[in-house]
């Protein structure tokens, strides 16, 4: 604590300027495009323990004895994606005897609160390993750095601007998501077709990269992008926006940066009496069911919730002193297509359940996820 000032100062000086955030980075785009094609290593059929790229980190010298206490600082469970993920996580904890106690603190979507939460855990949580799912990258960096000084830290979903964590777990990424959807559109409509792009909100890193990648591919293929609108993730607003566009002209394909409002967008076509065009959604059950029922031409890129399982597995390996992929653990990021759609549609699951959860073989499936 005494050297905190010095340490923070030194680290801050060492960092590149944070404001130069670039959401349209050709190198990162190319890298993720390559990773989508790459063969992933690890047990077949279990993408949550697979990894792309072969670097490993040793953890034997960390000297933690099981059963150990794992603390988890969560950005929030404020949307269905995070709810499914958090359920994956708590269920995965049951699989590991080396994890004695699992302490969860929820920052409810606030950077300030998450920093306070991590400080609380450091001050009195008796944690042996810490898992952090940062609310935002830059803001949480100092707190994660402090945690790193006290114990091994595992970061997943969003990253932090430091390489002090044991590993940073994430699927291929936002560019990959954008690429999968846009390439599907390019393959299924004529050149010059009208494409509507629907976005949740500006400024969120994972969404901005999806958009820039999607836009790049659609532009290069000569598509006519009739609009790129923000829906705030609100069903009613999405439906209204699409209805307004339909009053002004035809739409041949809809690209979305997140699938939560995909069904509302489809309904706008149905209710206005139009055929449903080529659609990019996500792996939520309501969209997959609609796709199956109406025989859509569609694709569902995913940002898999199984990464929440991976974070717990990584913590268990740290406790057990086993090697694990790092300092970056890149998980495969499969898309749901017409070929494998039937594997993922499950009418017993809630409409907002994310199908790419890797949770079907877990003990309390489907009840713990709200299915019957």
């Amino acid at each position: 604590m005494k050297h905190l000032l010095l340490a923070t100062g030194a680290l801050a000086l060492g960092l590149a300027p944070l404001h130069a955030q670039n959401f349209d980075d050709p190198e990162e785009f190319a890298k993720q495009q390559e990773q989508l094609q790459a063969e992933s290593m690890g047990p077949e059929g279990q993408p949550w323990v697979q990894h792309i790229g072969g670097d490993m980190v040793e953890t034997a010298d960390l000297g933690i004895e099981g059963p150990a206490t794992v603390c988890f600082s969560n950005a929030g469970v404020n949307n269905p994606w995070r709810v499914v993920g958090y359920t994956n996580m708590t269920e995965e904890v049951e699989n590991h005897d080396s994890i004695g106690e699992f302490i969860h603190v929820d920052a409810e979507g606030s950077d300030d609160k998450q920093i306070a939460d991590i400080d609380d855990l450091l001050a009195g949580g008796d944690c042996d390993v810490m898992i952090v799912s940062p609310n935002t990258t830059a803001a949480l960096t100092p707190a994660v750095e402090r945690a790193c000084e006290a114990m091994p830290v595992i970061v997943f979903d969003r990253g932090v601007n430091t390489d002090c964590p044991v590993t940073f777990i994430h699927p291929v990424g936002g560019y990959g998501f954008g690429i999968q959807g846009a390439e599907f559109i390019v393959d299924n409509v004529e050149e010059g077709a009208n494409v509507l792009m629907l976005r949740i909100l500006p400024g969120v890193d994972v969404l901005e990269t999806r958009y820039s990648a999607g836009r790049r591919i659609l532009d290069e293929a000569g598509m006519n992008i009739v609009g790129a609108e923000f829906t705030d993730g609100d069903n009613a607003k999405t439906k209204s926006i699409v209805e307004d566009y339909l009053m002004r002209g035809d739409i041949d394909a809809v690209w979305m940066d997140a699938g939560a409002t995909a069904v509302a967008a489809i309904e706008a076509f149905e209710d206005s009496g139009y055929d449903i065009p080529v659609f990019v959604g996500e792996d939520q059950q309501d969209f997959l069911r609609k796709w199956q029922d109406k025989g859509l031409t569609a694709i569902a890129p995913t940002y898999p919730t199984y990464q929440w399982r991976t974070a717990v597995i990584a913590a268990a390996r740290v406790i057990e002193g086993e090697a694990l992929p790092g300092p970056e653990w890149v998980l495969p990021q499969p898309a749901i297509t017409q070929e494998n759609l039937d594997e993922y549609v499950n009418p017993a699951m809630p409409p907002l359940h994310y199908a790419m959860c890797g949770c079907e073989d877990m003990a309390n499936y489907p009840e713990a996820w709200g299915g019957n």
Binding site: V83, N235, S240, D244, D286, P351
Partner: protein, 328 residues
């Protein structure tokens, strides 16, 4: 001649406020929309518009009771979320369940309103805080009930109210069911406010609660009724929104402030004593028209917020200015 000129001049001035400026604003906005998008005069155009405005207009009609009685109701947005999530949990994919789920939801709306009213009247918590607490609580309850992932799809029978159209109607070709609900609910609320004793009492306690009590008004009962009507409007709006757009966990976010804004655009006076259901209805339409227009203009979200903020302040400042001028 001078004798006659003066009073008529005064009458001129006094007659002005009788046309509520919200209608002028609405007419101007509609004209602008038609100019931007001639398709608006087609039934698809204006019926879609009314359908979209229905939840907000109903909320505003309920909110205006609470505002006129001197309070606020910030809980309606979360109530909408609770109704949508709760309906999906209760119907659990069973189309036949709609017939009892809808009354249950209306009951929840009435119950939430009653609790708000009781807290304000008997625990004497200011309504701003009481309904703020209720807003947080209901949001938590919606999540707690569903575990964050609402279980069922809303069946088509439930979505009938918010989604279906009645086709082959003469003159207009089709009418969305939600527009019929809108007309009935706003009509009832307007009748209750402007043609019954309840409405007079709501105005009286908002104007001066002590005087109203001395005049024999059961202040607590009337205030609770106002909150109940607002809660009921929240539940109806929730049923329409769930019908229009399906299940999601943040449907109601922001509706409480929009409802208050709509009521205020319609000339309702915060802290009580003045408010009109038809004008709040006009306010809700005007607000929706602003959003639609800004959408057509292709203006980004930030500009919309700025315009909304400016109109809000300007409308109230103008109302205060006119009130001062006419001396009422």
């Amino acid at each position: 001649m001078t004798d006659r000129a003066d009073p008529s001049g005064a009458r001129e001035r006094r007659r002005l406020p009788q046309i509520n400026p919200v209608w002028v604003l609405l007419a101007a906005l509609i004209a602008a929309i038609i100019f931007m998008n001639p398709g608006f005069v087609e039934p698809t155009g204006y019926m879609n518009f009314l359908k979209r405005a229905a939840p907000l207009a109903i909320l505003a009609a309920g909110q205006v009771y609470v505002i006129t009685s001197g309070g606020f109701d910030l809980s309606v947005g979360s109530l909408i979320t609770l109704v949508v999530v709760g309906s999906s949990m209760l119907t659990n994919n069973d189309p036949a369940a709609t017939y009892w789920v809808v009354p249950v939801m209306l009951g929840i709306g009435v119950g939430v309103g009653a609790i708000n009213g009781l807290i304000v009247c008997f625990l004497r918590v200011p309504s701003l805080i009481a309904t703020l607490g209720m807003m947080i609580t209901l949001n938590g309850l919606a999540f707690l009930w569903s575990g964050g992932a609402p279980r069922g799809y809303l069946p088509d029978t439930f979505r009938f109210f918010g989604r279906e159209l009645i086709r082959d109607v003469p003159l207009v070709r089709f009418i969305p069911v939600s527009v019929i609900v809108l007309v009935v609910v706003v009509g009832l609320f307007a009748w209750l406010m402007h043609r019954t004793n309840l409405g007079r009492q709501v105005h009286a306690i908002g104007d001066n609660p002590v005087a109203a009590r001395l005049a024999g008004v059961a202040v607590n009962r009337v205030r609770i009724t106002a909150f109940v009507l607002s809660g009921l409007s929240g539940a109806i709006a929730g049923i329409l929104l769930g019908g229009f757009a399906g299940v999601s966990t943040d449907v109601g976010t922001g509706y409480e402030l929009q409802a208050i804004t709509a009521a205020v655009l319609g000339g309702a006076q915060l802290l009580g004593g003045r408010g009109s259901v038809p004008a709040a209805f006009g306010g809700a339409l005007a607000l929706t028209a602003i959003f639609t227009l800004l959408n057509f203009l292709g203006l980004p979200q930030p500009v919309r917020q700025v315009v909304q903020g400016l109109i809000l302040i300007a409308a109230v400042a103008l109302a205060m200015h006119r009130r001062k001028q006419t001396g009422t």
